[in-house]
Amino acid sequence: MHLHLILPIAIVLTFLAACFGGLFWKLASRFDAGRCTAEWLDGFSLESYAPMERLLSKDDTRFLASQPGYHPEIAHRLMAERRGIFAAYLKHLVRDFNQLVGIGRLMVVYSTEDRQEFARRLWRQQVRFYAEVYSLRLQLALYPLGWDLRWTVADARRLVAAVEAMRDQVVLLSSPDQFVGIA
C-alpha cells in the first residue's frame, strides 16, 4: 500500500478539477462576438501606438537635466509616469492583438477551405507575441533596479510590427464567399 500517495492523488485531482472548471468557464465565455465587428476593424489603426517609441526615450530627461533647477527626482517621477503610460499602451496593444487573433480564429473555423497553415502561423505568432509582451513587462519592472530601457523601445517597435503582421495575415486570408453557415 502507498499511504503516502494519498496527498499527491488529492493534489492531482484538485488540479484536474480546477483545469476542467477553468476550461468550462472559458468555454462558456470564449468568444465575445460583440467586440469583433467590421466597424472595429475599419477603425483599427497602428498609428495610435507611435508615442510608445518616444515615451521611454532618454531625450526628454536629457533636456530636463540641462534646465536650471533640475533635480534627479523630477526625472524619476517623469519616467515612473511614462512607464505607467507605456504599460497602458501595451495593454491596449495586447487587446488589439487578441482581437485580431480572435478574428483570425473565427475565419479559420468558419472557412470553407482548410486553413491549417494559417492556423499554425497564428499560433506561432501568438506564442512569440506573448513572449515579447512578458519580456517587455519584465524590463519595465526591472527599470527601478537600473535596467536600461534602450532595448525596451526596440522591443516595443517589434511588438507593433507583430500586430501589423497579424493584421496583414488576416487581410490575406479574406476572400469573397469565405464563410460557411453556422447553424
Binding site: M1, H2, L5, I9, L13, L16, A17, C19, F20, L23, F24, K26, L27, A28, S29, R30, F31, D32, A33, G34, C36, T37, A38, L41, D42, G102, I103, R105, L106, M107, V108, V109, Y110, S111, T112, E113, D114, R115, Q116, A119, R120, D168, V170, V171, L172, L173, S174, S175, P176, Q178, F179, V180, G181, I182, A183
Partner: protein, 260 residues
C-alpha cells in the same frame, strides 16, 4: 440484490430508473441517431445494472458477467468520446486537418500520461483485478483526452450546441471519478463498499445531469456570448463575419493599391 448493502440497493434502483428514463428521452428526441455510441453505451449500462438483480453478487457467474459487460462498457466509453469529438468538428472544413493532427497528438499524450501511474499499482491476482489494471489507464487517458478537447474548444470558437457542453461536463466528472476510484483500488486499498457507493453516486448524478439537460433543442449549434446562449447569435455572427470579410477585402485592396 439482497447481498448488496442497503445504500447500494437504493442507488442501483435509482440508477436503473434514471438510465431507462435517459434511454427513452434520447430515443424520443432522436438523439440516438446522432450519438449512436452513446445510446449503445447506455443500453449496456442498463444491462449491467440488471445483473445484480438477477444473479447473486457473490457467485462466479456474476463476476464473469460483470467482467464481460465491463469490457464492452469501457470500449464504448472510449467510442463515445471519439464520437462526440467527430460530432463537434463535423462540417468544419477550415480546421479539419489541424483537428485530426491535434487528435493524434492528444491521444498519444493522453495514453502516455495515463500509463505513468502503473508503477504504483499492485500486480493483480484475480480476474477483476486484471480488468481494473487495464481499465484504469483507459479511463485516465479519456480524462486527459476530454480535458485537451476542452482546451481545443476553448481556443477555437467552434460553434457548440448546449448538448455538447453537457456531455463534456458529464464525461469530465464521470471519468475523473471512476479513474480515481480504480487507481485507489489498484494501489491496494479495498474499501470496496465506500468506493462502490461513491462510484454509483457520481455515476447516477452524471446520468441525472444528462437526463435533465440533453434535448433536441440543445443540438442547435450556437456561439456562446458572455455566458449565455442566445438564439439570435448565429445569424448575427454570420452577418458580422461577412462584414469583417468585406472590411478586410477593402483594406486588402487599399494595401495592394499602395504597394502597386
Amino acid at each position: 440484490m439482497h447481498q448488496l448493502p442497503i445504500d447500494q440497493q437504493v442507488l442501483l434502483i435509482l440508477q436503473l430508473g434514471v438510465l431507462l428514463a435517459l434511454c427513452v428521452r434520447i430515443w424520443v428526441s432522436g438523439l440516438h441517431k446522432i450519438y449512436v455510441n452513446f445510446f449503445r453505451y447506455l443500453i449496456l449500462e442498463v444491462l449491467q445494472a440488471l445483473i445484480p438483480l438477477l444473479v447473486p453478487v457473490e457467485s462466479r457467474l456474476y463476476r464473469d458477467l460483470f467482467v464481460t459487460s465491463e469490457v464492452f462498457i469501457v470500449t464504448f466509453e472510449a467510442l463515445v468520446v471519439l464520437e462526440l469529438y467527430s460530432v463537434i468538428l463535423r462540417d468544419l472544413a477550415g480546421i479539419a486537418k489541424i483537428a485530426r493532427r491535434y487528435i493524434k497528438i492528444t491521444l498519444a499524450f493522453a495514453i502516455l500520461v495515463s500509463l505513468l501511474p502503473l508503477s504504483f499499482e499492485k500486480t493483480p491476482n484475480t480476474l477483476t483485478g486484471y480488468l481494473f489494471i487495464f481499465e484504469r489507464p483507459i479511463l485516465s487517458s479519456l480524462v486527459v483526452f476530454v480535458l485537451l478537447i476542452c482546451g481545443f474548444l476553448a481556443y477555437y470558437p467552434v460553434p457548440l450546441g448546449r448538448n455538447v457542453i453537457v456531455y463534456l461536463a458529464g464525461y469530465a466528472v464521470f471519468f475523473l471519478t471512476i479513474a480515481t476510484m480504480q487507481f485507489i483500488n489498484n494501489m491496494g486499498y479495498f474499501w470496496n463498499r465506500q468506493k462502490s457507493s461513491v462510484d454509483m453516486g457520481i455515476t447516477v448524478a452524471c446520468q441525472v445531469l444528462w437526463l435533465l439537460a440533453l434535448s433536441r433543442q440543445g443540438e442547435e449549434k450556437r456561439v456562446v456570448v458572455g455566458h449565455q446562449w442566445n438564439p439570435g447569435d448565429d445569424q448575427r455572427l454570420l452577418h458580422q463575419l461577412e462584414a469583417i470579410n468585406a472590411s478586410l477585402l477593402r483594406s486588402g485592396g487599399k494595401n495592394r493599391t499602395k504597394a502597386g
